[in-house]
Amino acid sequence: MLLVTCPYCGPRPEEEFTNGREAHIARPTDSDNMTDEEWARFTFIHNNEKGWMRERWMHAAGCRRWFNAVRHNVTSEWHTEYEMFGKKPDLPAEEGSMTSPSDSPSAKLEK
């Protein structure tokens, strides 16, 4: 169970939250002028870049506020949380390899 930090309530157990996937995908305001392809992009596509990721959470069992966070999607390391329309923090530098812990046997071995 992750420890998710709500910018309003502080660190709380994952059980209290729902994850809202990638952050900063704004709903288009002029969808009439969008191609089907562009609309599909908004509706269905997240970048999910491997590594540090800005994502949305909602403190469902708590204050019911949506907020954003920067979390590493390989290691789950929590970097920071910020308000929905707060300043977009820079992503931390990537340290070392991004293979997941058990991606390859050598990744488990320090040489």
């Binding site: 089907d36 609309w39 909602m58 506020r65 290691t75 929905m84 329309f85 071995l109 320090e110």
Partner: protein, 1022 residues
């Protein structure tokens, strides 16, 4: 009963308290303080189980959780079936009165086991044998012949067949420092960590704390380690911030320092004493810092027939002799590759257990412990190996041979030394299981010949101390653990105050020789049986075969040979396998790599994870304020989401169908009432509430007058209908929205999401008021009369027209009356504060009696609305229906601007006119009720009868036209009615469709509109 193999004295057992137990049907006796393993050994029993594949006899091999061989089923007597426990490790079972156990994987008995024939066929069962054999030329050989045989051979123990009624719980915990392992390192770390204000949890899986000190005592702070442990525990127990958990294993380490600790609360108690107590708990603990003090595992040595009962780890041998006062046999052989193990050999001899030889793989038997041992006079054979073992169900002797100078071959034919047990000391492997679970890496240490913890993970930083950190020196590890205990407390911002670490003179250690794969009488690749993973019967030749067959990656080797996949998860075998592989392939171990450690650290009972959340607590059951009335009225309940809704109210002996036919009539002829409290209710408040609803629903809301109600349809962004309901304008700034029962939480969630994340400029606040209101929906021509009997307020058609609402005083209860109808009849939804719900219901029942008021349940409601062709989201929709598909295109506003899902409605596949569309069906025979879920076929696509045999799949693919979503016999229309989704259905009114049934019959129907009753819709306006 005699315990013939008990030493005359010694051990931490209570010889004054004998304990009776049964093993494989025979009665035995042990002492309080014994484990099942030690008690069996005290009775001279080494042979306790059989290997998985070859069913070779196996004995007790270790004294802890790493046990691969001595696996038994517990609680096996008749009457104990519900408590039967499969695959328990005998060395960790605390003996208790009346315990019953039996060997696994042996039939009909341990001694005469049929499966053991497999060992003679061993050459047909190499690694991966499944995949290459048992094939046969035709698939049927596999299914009918081989597969059943293989499947019968599966498994070790047997599961219970009855329901375990014991109580299990889980419990959340929080601490600053969690310490896994209560040996000297863990205790020292705890002393330091707990010396300030830190909340500390110290976990150990034994019955007593002390770890290795319990069988390998030392002098600490000038006193014997027993007193030191007592002193430390005394101190810790007094500290309210410290929690000591015995008989508990840290089993899993999840991200963000969340750990599972599995506590066995009553397993050490006889059944009667354990009764009514919680058997096991899973503690789910968030720790700020984690210190690992798990110790290390000793390794077996690889030699021919190294699995014969009587073969065990040296430190286990020492433990049984010194801690349990067990005599392991008449004469033992001690087999080592290092100096340190001589300390164990010495302890064994000093405790009165005879050793006849020490076989030492090292070229020269030297080192401080070796020297100390020499005084015993036991002959030492240096530069030698055990080349073979004599004996089948018990070691009878060992063939000792001398090694060539390179260690690669034998230089003599050897000499057979009689013995009845062999203690193996193959060096130690730090227990890096939890460290790895934290996602940290391990690194290979050439000196220790083992993996040691590498860099800690940043997410779940682990701090390893003591033997699990590769530190085997009591003196240094006490100090190191102490200082890391302080570091951990400090990192948790609760620094410790203690400054003086416990002190001890550690044991000096001499040289070792990591000769991973010594030669034998038969070498491993020439028929020698060098077992590396005992339980799964993986031999060195299997590892080699895997290499030859391209399973070079260590992960492939594991899966091909099943190495490390048994219940011990390779605790004693992994390093030996890697060492042997390195010798076979000439690669460095670090190059070979290691497989992944996964939770749990030891197999953990299912129910410990589940705790109380089965049976009545498996899920929440939500009930309405009128629930008790429904119960008293004998209602059957339907689960809708987590709610229990009154489904129908059967009279004695009445079926659901009959009840529904009866309940459905009064709603059209007199009056019926249904508890509609479960509908989701959301208060939408603010100057932009109307605009907000415009964006949420497909239709327009801003102009809805105060006091009026409107039906709304909600889509997802893909344009598919996801919810519907009636929303009413309460005031200029406020709307009262209702949602489907099952959709309430989701709708509220979606609305908050859009409000907070997409349209923060809208001034709207949402409040869920679902349970503030109790709702009774009156339906039928008499409904107004009933209402009027309870109020002086005007509820006439003029004062309260269709699709309007108003507040009234209902016999003193403030009520909101919504004139909305889900049955298409004259109807009033009465809303009162939930506390008054039951009273409202009772008032209605009394007032309604003269007018034929009949309570009806959800099933009747479904029928009534189907008569009118009203949809139920989730029944007429499945996430793939647009408003147009449902014939509700008129509800999609083209003028008001954007709303959720709007853009998707213009995509090419959405506007096609051959989409499935909602229609009604008249069955050709009006008495025939189409089954819901029936598939429909157009006439031109109907196959010949022989293409569609009864109860069989079609012989050719049949093109389907659609399916039946709702279907009932309507007592009000006196015919069967059905709704269906049919391809291009809106343009096919009047056409025939056919519904092939499983039994081969075909039901014929004609497509029509969905409104079966009161076409003009006059009734609801009544």
């Amino acid at each position: 009963m005699v315990q013939a193999f008990r030493l005359p004295d010694g051990g931490k057992i209570d010889r004054s308290t004998p304990i009776n137990f049964t093993f494989n049907g025979e009665k035995y006796q042990g002492y309080a303080g014994d484990t099942l393993a030690s008690a069996l050994l005290a009775n001279g029993i080494h042979f306790v189980g059989r290997g998985f594949k070859y069913h070779r006899p196996r004995g007790i091999t270790t004294s802890g959780h790493e046990e691969p061989n001595a696996i038994v089923d517990l609680n096996v007597a008749s009457g104990e079936e519900a408590y039967r426990e499969a695959n328990v490790r005998a060395p960790v079972i605390e003996l208790c009165e009346g315990m019953t156990a039996e060997s696994v994987n042996a039939f009909p008995s341990l001694k005469y086991d049929i499966g053991s024939l497999n060992q003679w066929l061993a050459r047909f069962f190499p690694a991966g044998f499944y995949y290459k054999t048992f094939m046969g030329p035709m698939a049927v050989f596999w299914t009918k012949l081989y597969e059943p045989v293989i499947r019968k051979a599966a498994g070790l123990g047997r599961s219970a067949t009855e329901t375990d009624t014991a109580r299990y719980e889980f419990q959340y915990g929080h601490c600053d420092v969690l310490i896994a392992g209560g040996g000297p390192a863990g205790l020292s770390a705890a002393l330091a960590a707990a010396s300030g204000d830190a909340r500390v949890i110290l976990v150990d899986d034994g019955r007593e704390l002390g770890g290795s000190l319990l069988s390998d005592p030392a002098i600490i702070n000038g006193t014997d380690s027993g007193s030191w442990i007592a002193e430390v525990l005394g101190k810790l127990e007094k500290n309210p911030n410290v929690r000591i958990m015995k008989r508990s294993s840290v089993v899993s380490w999840w991200d963000h320092n969340f750990l599972n600790v599995w506590e066995r609360c009553t397993d050490h108690l006889p059944a009667a004493a354990a009764k009514n107590q919680t058997r096991q708990k899973l503690h789910r603990i968030r720790a700020n810092q984690v210190i690992l003090a798990q110790g290390a595992f000793e390794r077996p040595l690889l030699f021919n027939n190294n699995d014969r009962p009587g073969t065990m780890l040296a430190n286990a041998a020492r433990t049984y002799v010194t801690r349990y006062g067990v005599r392991l046999g008449k004469a033992g052989i001690f087999y080592t590759n290092n100096d340190t193990a001589y300390a164990d050999a010495l302890a064994i001899v000093e405790a009165g257990q005879k050793l006849v030889a020490v076989i030492d793989l090292r070229e020269v038997a030297e080192g401080p412990n070796t020297e100390a041992f020499k005084a015993t006079g036991v002959p030492i054979y240096a530069n030698s190996v055990i080349a073979d073992v004599d004996g089948k169900q018990r070691v009878r002797g060992a063939l000792i041979s001398a090694l060539s100078s390179d260690g690669a071959s034998l230089i003599d034919h050897g000499q057979l030394i009689e013995c009845d047990f062999i203690a193996m000391a193959g060096g130690w492997s730090p227990n890096v299981q939890l460290h790895s679970q934290s996602t940290a890496k391990v690194k290979w240490d050439d000196v220790l010949g083992a993996f040691v913890p590498g860099k800690a993970s940043t997410v779940n930083p682990s701090i390893s101390v003591g033997a699990c950190n590769g530190d085997y020196h009591l003196g240094t590890l006490l100090e190191d653990a102490f200082s890391k205990g302080l570091v951990a407390a400090k990192s948790a911002n609760k620094p410790g105050r203690a400054r003086k670490s416990p002190k001890a003179d550690g044991r000096e250690t001499g040289p070792h020789r990591w000769l991973w794969l010594p030669p034998g009488k038969k070498t491993y690749n020439k028929g020698g049986k060098f077992f590396v993973d005992y339980q799964n019967d993986v031999k060195i030749d299997d590892l080699e075969l895997a290499q030859r067959e391209s399973f070079v990656s260590v992960e492939h080797t594991k899966r091909y040979t099943t190495l490390g996949m048994a219940t011990d998860q390779g605790k004693t075998s992994n390093i030996n396998a890697l060492g042997a592989l390195s010798q076979i392939t000439g690669k460095e171990v670090a190059e070979i790599g290691t497989t992944t450690f996964r939770p749990p650290y030891v197999p953990t009972t299912f129910m410990a994870y589940v705790g109380r959340e089965v049976d009545e607590f498996f899920d929440v059951t939500r009930t309405t304020p009128m629930h008790s009335w429904h119960v008293d009225a004998g209602a059957a309940f339907e689960p809708v989401g987590q709610w229990d809704r009154a489904w129908y109210y059967p009279k004695a002996g009445e079926s659901m169908q009959a009840a529904v036919q009866r309940e459905a009539k009064p709603d059209r002829s007199q009056v019926g009432v249904i508890d509609a409290s479960t509908l989701g209710k959301i208060s939408v408040v603010g100057p932009d509430a109307g605009e907000f609803l415009n964006r949420i629903y497909t239709n327009a809301w801003k102009k809805l007058p105060v006091g009026k109600c409107r039906y709304g349809l909600m889509l997802n962004e893909a344009g598919m209908v996801v919810d519907d309901g009636v929303t009413s304008r309460i005031s200029e700034n406020e709307y009262h929205m209702t949602t489907t029962t099952g959709g309430a939480a989701g709708v509220m969630g979606t609305m908050e999401e859009y409000l907070q994340t997409e349209w923060p400029e809208l001034q709207v606040y949402l409040t869920s008021v679902t349970e503030q209101w109790a709702v009774a929906a009156l339906n039928g021509p008499n409904s107004r009369t009933v209402l009027e009997a309870l109020t002086d307020d005007d509820v006439s058609a003029e004062a309260l027209p269709f699709m309007a609402w108003r507040e009234i005083n209902l016999s003193g209860i403030p009520a909101r009356i919504f004139r909305i109808s889900f049955t298409g009849d004259l109807a009033f939804e009465v809303n009162v504060s939930a506390d008054y719900g039951l009273q409202l219901w009772n008032l209605l029942m009394t007032a309604g009696q003269p007018y034929g008021l009949t309570p009806y349940g959800t099933e009747t409601m479904h029928l009534l609305r189907a008569e009118k062709g009203f949809i139920i989201v989730g029944q007429e929709t499945d996430g793939s229906m647009t408003p147009m598909d449902l014939g509700l295109g008129g509800m999609v506003s083209t003028k008001k601007g954007d709303f959720i899902g709007r853009r998707s409605l213009s995509r090419p596949d959405i506007i096609k006119d051959d989409r499935k569309q909602l229609v009604g069906l008249d069955t050709t025979n009006p008495e025939t009720v189409l089954p819901e879920g029936a598939q429909l076929v157009f006439g031109e696509d109907m196959p010949d009868q022989d293409k569609l045999p009864a109860y069989r799949p079609a012989k050719e693919v049949v093109r389907m036209a659609g399916f039946v979503s709702s279907s009932y016999y309507s007592p009000n229309c006196n015919q069967s009615i059905a709704m269906a989704l049919v391809k291009g259905g809106h343009n096919r009114i009047g056409e025939k469709v056919f519904s092939p049934q499983a039994d081969g019959t075909v039901i014929e129907a004609v497509i029509r509109d969905t409104n079966f009753y009161d076409k003009e819709g006059v009734r609801q306006h009544g």
